[in-house]
Symmetry: C2
Subunit: 309 residues, 2 copies
């Protein structure tokens, strides 16, 4: 799984460069390569980054919309001769879906899919020495569950999934939407499944799973948050849920009608209810992002006032 | 960002079904559709799941390798007439890279890329009512840093990145390889960058960032772990690091030559060193996965013995 030490030494460097360049080649061009020629052949115009990677965006390359696989394959072949002669280490191809036939032509030269979204695919070919050191694409989906605990009566909001054979009590939750923060997902999913409004209090637990059947074989990061109820009336989603109740927390820690992780988090919540939530919480704080100046959310144990910045 | 309540009610249900089916249609077939016909036209063979989604794998469909975009477009068009007549809610197309021209043909019928990996792309088209309720693909990359703290002398292992303009002290780290656990990434990256062997102790902090320039515009989950050193001799990677030192933890909490998150975690570590690491740690335990019987790693605050299962 892990690359050799030697190869991996370059990884963050290559990641740092190509990652930033791949999504927006035009903005990140260091120099625009010309239609140079090798033995008089045309070469695809691309942008070159300082690490020797070439990015060709077929939406900007002026190719005829009806270019054939054969014609593009020959143009790409001539271009590869040029790029190899120039010592380029990698080539990225951004292919609009309407020109997908060019991806087939590229595959005959060794290109493979790096990723694809909506209306385009990105292919890559490593030209450097040894194993490819190109960065990968997103590997994880993020699922978030919300444990809504009413501290006034020690009851927690749980559901039973309509689509599971074993109807075990669990906390409502679901997948984060792209760009959605963990706490926002928890509050949204709890409301959508149960009709209960709540507010984020802390992060309680994280689980990582690989080869996840619910993630197209990718990995899954499952986060459980502690929430406080803002409303109590249950109006649960009958398509998703068979049952939805405010269950006594102590009962949830004892019942066998639940999942191992729900039972574990229930005991964690009980501990927090009895000894103080500072015992179990990861609190959230906002810190400035170094490169963008924006703020991001950081979760960790509460620091004593003397150690806060 | 969040879908409407009504639409999202179906999300986990559709996710639960199509996610499991998309990666391996043959294994998940409920029934194999025949080459039925509408007005005598041929229809692509696909597998149908119990939620009314059709998955067509072009590597299994017996299409001629040289089928033209036009011919595939007509076949797909006739198939869509049939599937709509049958009330199917969605169509998934698994397209090998060699038949990528079929993706262009599919796009003329409204299909878009769902994802692509290595030698194939998966396209999708929502046929049901309203906005698409198809599940998304992986949204996050996971980066892990390792804070290696020598409790005997209060020194922590830090590096300065060769490729940053501001040479700030930070903890060594990098991206998780696919299928790699958080702790394993931390130990591997620390060794690759510094030459120091270490072992995982706990999870300290999590940060989520969106539209990450280092993640092809996707999201980034950055995890910082606490590690204990097994060796102390530094042999750092000169391609990645400008400097690498065992720095006094108290000094790291005071210096301005660091990043906000490193400074914050340094203060967290100092608190742990002085008051006990149980104050700052999320410990890791293994629990059985409900559906697979495999074990996964769960991170949360340590439970008192009386509450452990």
């Amino acid at each position: 799984m892990a690359p050799s030490v030697f190869l991996s030494h370059l990884l963050p460097l290559v990641r740092g460069s190509l990652c930033r360049k791949a999504p927006c080649p035009s903005r990140t061009a260091v120099r625009r390569s010309q239609f140079l020629s090798v033995e008089g052949n045309r070469v695809l115009a691309g942008t070159v980054d300082r690490f020797g990677g070439v990015t060709v965006d077929l939406t900007e390359s002026g190719l005829p919309e009806d270019i054939s696989e054969g014609a593009f394959g020959r143009l790409l072949g001539d271009s590869l001769v040029q790029w190899r002669a120039e010592g380029k280490v990698a080539v990225w191809l951004r292919v609009p879906i309407s020109l997908s036939r060019c991806a087939a032509a590229a595959s005959t030269h060794g290109f493979t899919f790096h990723h694809a979204k909506h209306d385009h695919a990105v292919l890559a070919l490593w030209l450097g020495e040894g194993e490819s050191r190109l960065p990968g694409f997103a590997t994880h989906q993020v699922g978030v569950a919300g444990a809504v605990l009413d501290e006034s009566n020690g009851k927690v909001l749980v559901v039973q999934d309509r689509n599971k054979t074993k109807n075990a009590w669990k906390f409502p939750g679901g997948l984060s939407d792209p760009g959605e923060n963990i706490g926002a997902t928890a509050v949204r999913e709890v409301f959508e499944e149960t009709g209960v409004r709540s507010e984020f209090r802390s992060l309680l637990s994280i689980r990582q799973q690989h080869c996840h059947p619910g993630a197209f074989g990718m990995s899954d990061m499952y986060v459980i948050c502690r929430l406080s109820p803002l409303t109590h009336a249950i109006n649960f989603c009958t398509r998703e849920c068979l049952r939805c109740e405010w269950l006594d927390l102590a009962e949830l820690t004892r019942t066998s009608d639940t999942t191992p992780i729900t039972s574990r988090v229930a005991r964690l919540l009980l501990h927090g209810l009895e000894q103080g939530f500072s015992e179990i919480d990861l609190s959230m704080e906002e810190l400035p992002a170094v490169y963008s100046g924006r703020f991001y959310q950081l979760y960790h144990r509460q620091l004593p006032p003397t150690l806060k910045s």
